[in-house]
Structure formats: C-alpha cells, structure tokens
Symmetry: C2
Subunit: 255 residues, 2 copies
C-alpha cells in the first residue's frame, strides 16, 4: 500500500498514569480514526513515563521517521507536567514563555478575577519559535514545532486542539475500510483468506476474532485499501468463501 | 524510587487494528495494573503494525532495556498473524512447530471432530526452545522465550495466559498508591504540590485533572511509593494544603 501519497504519523502518549493502568487511554483511538479520515496513517505509538529523557528519546525517534508526530499529556501547570520542556530539549531549543499564549492567559485570569500564578505561567512555556494550537475548552493552548504537535492529555481538550490543528495537516490518499463478519472461525477461513490476500496485494486484509459477544463467536475480516474497487472485488471473494464454507455473513460495513 | 528491588517491564501491542483506531486496546490497563500488584513497573509501551521489521525492532529495543517484555496480538492462524515468526527473528532463531503445542492442538481438534488444518498448525509455530504459556480459554498456547512473553490479543485469552504465567514473574517492592481528589483546580494547587513533591522525593506525586464528571471539575492527586508511611505523611500534607486553600477532599483512597 506504500505509494507517493502515503502520509504517516506517530503518537507519543506521555504519562505515568497510563502505564500504571490507573487511567485508560482514550486518545489513541480518536487520533487513529481522525487521521485515517484525512488520509494519514498512524504507524506507531509509544507510551512513556513523565521522565525528560524518555520523552526526548521518543520524540526524536518518531519525528525523524514519520511525517507528523502528536504528543498527548504533560502540558498542565503542575510539577509533573514536563512535556513542553522535554520537547524543547528534543529540538535543542530553549523553553520560554510564548508571548501570545502568555498574553491570552494573563488577560483571561484577569477577566475572571483569578491570580495568574507562577504555576499557571508554566502553561505558556514552549520551545522558542513554537506556533500555538488553540484550545476552545480551557484556554491554555497546545503548540506545534516543526512536525510535532503537543496536545493535552484530557480527552475533551485534546479533541478540541485536534480540531483546531486539523486544517494544517496534509493528508494522502484516504484508506477505505470494508468489514465483513461471520461466525465461521479463523482456523477454517485462514487458508482461503491468505489466498485472497495474495490475489489482492494492494489491500491489507486483517482478521479479528471475537469471542462470546452478542454476535457469538466468529471473526471480522477487514479489508483496507485506498481503492474502493478493490474493496468491492476482495469483499466479493470473501463473501463467496464464507458461503462456500457453509457460513453466513453477519455484517458488511464500509467506512 | 529506583532501588535494587525495582523490576521493570514493557509491552508491545501488535496490530494494525489498534493503530487504525478500529479496536480500542484493553490490554494495557490490565497488564499495567496486574504487574503493579506484584511489584513490577510497566515503563514503556509500543504499538506497532503487523510488519515483521517493526515487531523485531520493538522487541529487541525493549527486551534489552526491561526485565520483562510482553507482547499482545498476532498469534492466531491467519496470514496477518506474524508475531511468532517475528519474535523468532528478533532472537535469531528458527520458528518451528512446538512439539507439545502441536500434540495438544492435534488431539484437541481430533477429539472435537475438526480438521487440524495447515492454518491451525501455524498456531504452534514458535521460536525454537520456547516454553509454553497455557491458554485455558481456547487451547492454543502463548509462549515465553527468555524474558519475552508472547500473548494473545483477545482480552479474555490474554488474561487467561497472564494468570498462567504470573507464577514465573519475580516482582520487586510493590508500589502503593494513595489518590486524593478535590475540586480545587491545578493552577491553584500547583505551587504547594510541587513543594510537597520536593519534600518527599521518595514518592512520585501525579496530578490528574478531571472535567465535567459527576464529581464536577477538579483534580486527583496520586501519591505512589513503596513505603506506606510516605503515603501517610505526604497525603496528610496534601489534605492540609487542600483545606488551607479552602477546598474539600472528595475522595481519599488507597490501592
């Protein structure tokens, strides 16, 4: 599926609370899907702790390999929010109060009769030269530096920031998906499915078993391709195979 | 918190369906928490696609850095299940049918009147010298090779495998957690909290804001330490700070 129009991305999820299992990440799925819709393929995700060296290493490994990198988490006012300084270090730049972000927060806290504390000023700390990513939910912005977008970890805020930055992303060909599910099990389908994958090398066919769901036990066969006609052709062969094996198609959906 | 008894782990989540956002991962949280309970700290997670080189690189990067590595996904019978061969490649070993796994599956399919197809035989393909990890849910085992445990991606099966391998894990000191929540916001708490963190360097204090939940808007302050007495002491200071700021403690829980 690699072609000139393949645009790739990676995500660095920053936070001890994700690694300890205290918090279930909700950003990966949103970002993976949202990128997909605009023709960008999420290719790698790393979850790292709130430790500067780990963040620096992850950001540097990812930004050189992928067209875009997104980070979530660690941009608040508390001592454990060290993402901006760490991203600055990854780029070998100083972290400074961003003048526009500083002005926005200063006037917001003033207008709301609250103190613009040192801690709150920390939320305007960014690598020198960073561009702001607006935050419609809670004012304090994220930022972009080169191909790296630094976003909040709180899902509502991350989503608002993602919507704000989306016009800046240049997508490639959109990958379309066709998902066909059946109660025929993987062990029975596998040989035929491998043959269909071989026949349609321009598609990526995945097989995802499900167990004891409302639909019972079976498998979802997911065809992904930038070409709608290949979803048609490969899908028809999969449906024929399911019928030939005496099975039934439970669902046949495109997205 | 680094000490002689710190035992670390990493997780490689393998699968295009996680990266595309089609499937929400449910294994990271379970593994993070379960390891925590037995004194092993999950330090890094990577999500990589079903591409051999990506799996090899992730497994090799992680197994040299952490005491244990777990992989989830890609061990079924279909063409896109390439984790076992990839892990074998990471170790420079051949992938072969594991005799014991082969015997188990052969007799299971025979007993159930089903054919032991080539595809099903693939589920017994493992690096030479691998040890089995039992699967109480659907027979086909996972495996261990050195410090790497290769598990299923389907959560029910992954959990059964994790329970089976758990006695093999050697944990360090268990990290205890105390979580105190309040509606006082981060910007107000941050300076005092940073001072408390500084006073208790043997603890790891995290600040996790919540927005528009049934508890309203506020923050959970999470103290992590191997020493219960430090949870007592740091927690008391946090509660005093909340009261000094005119706030209320909503929850105070340990785990």
């Amino acid at each position: 599926m690699q072609n000139d129009e393949t645009v790739t991305a990676a995500l660095a999820i920053i936070g001890n609370e994700i690694l300890s299992g205290r918090t279930q990440d909700a950003n990966l799925t949103f970002i993976g899907r949202s990128l997909n819709e605009i023709g960008i393929q999420l290719r790698e995700v790393r979850v790292v702790p709130d430790i500067e060296k780990e963040i620096v290493d992850a950001v540097n490994a990812l930004r050189s390999r992928y067209d875009y990198v997104f980070t979530t988490g660690g941009i608040g006012p508390t001592h454990d929010d060290i993402t901006p300084e760490s991203v600055a270090a990854a780029f070998g730049r100083k972290a400074v109060y961003h003048p526009e972000a500083y002005a926005r927060l200063e006037s917001w806290y003033k207008a709301n009769g609250r103190e613009f504390t040192e801690a709150r000023k920390r939320m305007t700390l960014m690598p020198e030269g960073a561009e702001l990513v607006d935050n419609a939910v809670s004012i304090a912005p994220g930022f972009r530096i080169e191909n790296v977008f630094v976003l909040a970890g709180v899902p509502q805020i991350m989503r608002a920031m993602f919507e704000a930055l989306k016009p800046q992303l240049r997508g490639g060909k959109t990958v379309r998906t066709r998902s066909i599910s059946t109660r025929v099990v993987e062990g029975v389908l596998a040989d035929g499915l491998a043959a269909i994958q071989k026949k349609f090398p321009q598609t990526d066919i995945g097989s995802y078993p499900f167990y004891n769901t409302p639909n019972g036990t079976g498998v979802s066969l997911v065809i992904r391709s930038t070409e709608e006609r290949l979803l048609d052709a490969a899908g028809e062969e999969i449906i024929r195979m399911i019928h030939d094996l005496g099975g039934e198609v439970l669902d046949d959906e495109r997205s």
